[in-house]
């Protein structure tokens, strides 16, 4: 099948967003079922929320409680080892959460073949094993677990504060904002030369429809975890 036929799907995501993990796993699985070219676009959810005047959903106690239950049910349904955190609101508000996004951005620039596995490792750390993702040792551990060679990992960690990396993360975030993003995940399907933006991990019926494909359920047999 010609690559030119493949429809580009961009997933704008942030490590602190649990629903982004669901969307990520679903889209990874559907690469073998749908004629798509999945592009991973790490961005800054904190910046998107600030710029759009939005607020984190956990601000409403009843909503936070429901999200906890909803995510556990979805984790079970999609076979994703999400286990939550004892204090998600506080942990998600940590300003240093930008650091894993700088790392993912650097990987997307220098060695994109590692982007998928590193993304998954960061989610496993933050949302499955309640581990840190902000300290250099944590990022090194994630990179190693993702199979990135030691010298490459060292080079990536050394450039986390580079202006080029920061600028690229800002650019990607701005691109998502131009598509109308106000949260994560933000999925953009390019069909017939037009971008179609979707928010959340619960619009796959609509996405399938716009792609001219069929939704085949959670495809848990293709679970990577």
């Amino acid at each position: 099948m010609a690559d030119a036929d493949k429809k580009v799907i961009e997933l704008f995501y942030d490590t602190i967003s649990p629903y982004s993990w669901i969307a990520f796993e679903v889209l990874c699985r559907y690469r073998s079922r749908w004629n798509i070219d999945l592009r991973l676009r790490p961005f800054s959810l904190a910046a998107v929320v600030t710029e759009t005047g939005n607020s984190p959903p956990g601000r409403v106690p009843a909503k936070l409680k429901w999200m906890g239950r909803d995510l556990m049910r979805q984790a079970h349904f999609y076979k994703i080892p999400f286990r939550g955190r004892k204090d998600p609101n506080n942990d998600m508000a940590n300003k240093d959460n930008i650091k894993p996004m700088f790392l993912l951005t650097a990987v997307s620039m220098d060695c994109p073949q590692h982007l998928e596995r590193l993304t998954r490792e960061l989610w496993l750390r933050f949302w499955s094993r309640e581990e840190d993702i902000t300290q250099p040792a944590s990022l090194e551990a994630a990179a190693t677990a993702a199979g990135i060679p030691a010298d490459q990992t060292a080079a990536l960690l050394a450039k986390l504060q580079d202006e080029t990396v920061k600028a690229r993360l800002t650019e990607t975030t701005q691109e998502a904002l131009r598509h109308g993003a106000f949260g994560a995940p933000t999925i953009v399907a390019h069909v017939g030369g037009k971008p179609h933006m979707y928010w959340g991990s619960d619009r796959f019926l609509l996405i399938a429809d716009v792609l001219g494909e069929e939704w085949q359920g959670p495809l848990t047999e293709l679970a990577h975890l």
């Binding site: 409403v60 009843a62 429901w66 904002l177 928010w199 019926l205 609509l206």
Partner: protein, 229 residues
């Protein structure tokens, strides 16, 4: 010997007709009454009361989110074959005019003649979100009631009770019941599985709900659309 018939699972549908996504969920649930082994109980509540009780805010207060939802609702209603049109002034409809009379009227019908509740709900949705018509005035509610097949004198009698304390109390109670289940918006759907209530928010959890009910999700079933225009 025939296999034992499984008892129907009760699914409570807490709703306010002010919410577009609620219309989607309502039509899907009505279609699935025929497909799933469920006993659907419609529970009209008061969304403004839910927002207050849960300290929540309407989602469209964030401009980019409001713009997205405008398109999202149109895409979903088109796919689900629900005949939706945005009113010319949604802000006025949702935040100024509100739904207290409609909620009380639905409650009165639920208390006296619940066999009309489904179609009355549908007629109110068609007024507000298909024909951009009022749902606050007595004449509006009467028109919806008659289109729902409620005999005129019964409809007028029920309309005369909407300011009765029993009706107000019942609407407040239903709203509180939903809050006790953890509601923070509309629709709030509570599926009772093995004696435990499972709460779902929104119109996009049906595949998950099916899984938890031990049923199969066949998509929005547009061929079973009931809203006649």
């Amino acid at each position: 010997m025939a296999a034992p018939v499984q008892a129907r699972k009760t699914v409570e549908f807490f709703y306010d007709v002010l919410s577009p996504y609620t219309w989607l969920a309502f039509e899907v649930m009505c279609r699935y009454q025929q497909k799933w082994n469920i006993d659907l109980k419609l529970r009209p509540f008061f969304l403004a009361g839910i927002m207050k009780g849960a300290d929540n805010r309407p989602p469209a207060m964030v401009p980019a989110k409001g713009q997205y939802m405008t398109k999202d609702v149109l895409m979903l209603t088109d796919m689900y074959k629900v005949p939706f049109n945005w009113p010319s002034n949604p802000t006025e409809v949702m935040f100024v005019k509100g739904s207290v009379n409609a909620g009380r009227f639905l409650t009165a019908v639920d208390m006296s003649c619940e066999q009309y509740l489904e179609e009355l709900t549908r007629q109110l949705f068609l007024r507000i979100y298909y024909r951009d018509e009022d749902i606050t005035e007595p004449a509006s509610l009467l028109s919806a009631a008659m289109k729902a097949g409620i005999p005129e004198d019964l409809a007028k009698q029920l309309l005369s009770t909407i300011k009765d304390q029993t009706v107000k109390d019942r609407l407040r109670e239903t709203t509180q019941t939903a809050l006790d289940y953890g509601a923070f918006g509309s629709p709030t759907i509570v599926a009772h599985v093995d004696g435990k209530p499972k709460m779902f928010f929104g119109s996009d959890r049906f595949e998950l709900m099916a899984h938890m009910l031990g049923e199969k999700w066949h998509g929005p079933l547009p061929e079973l659309a009931k809203a006649k225009i």
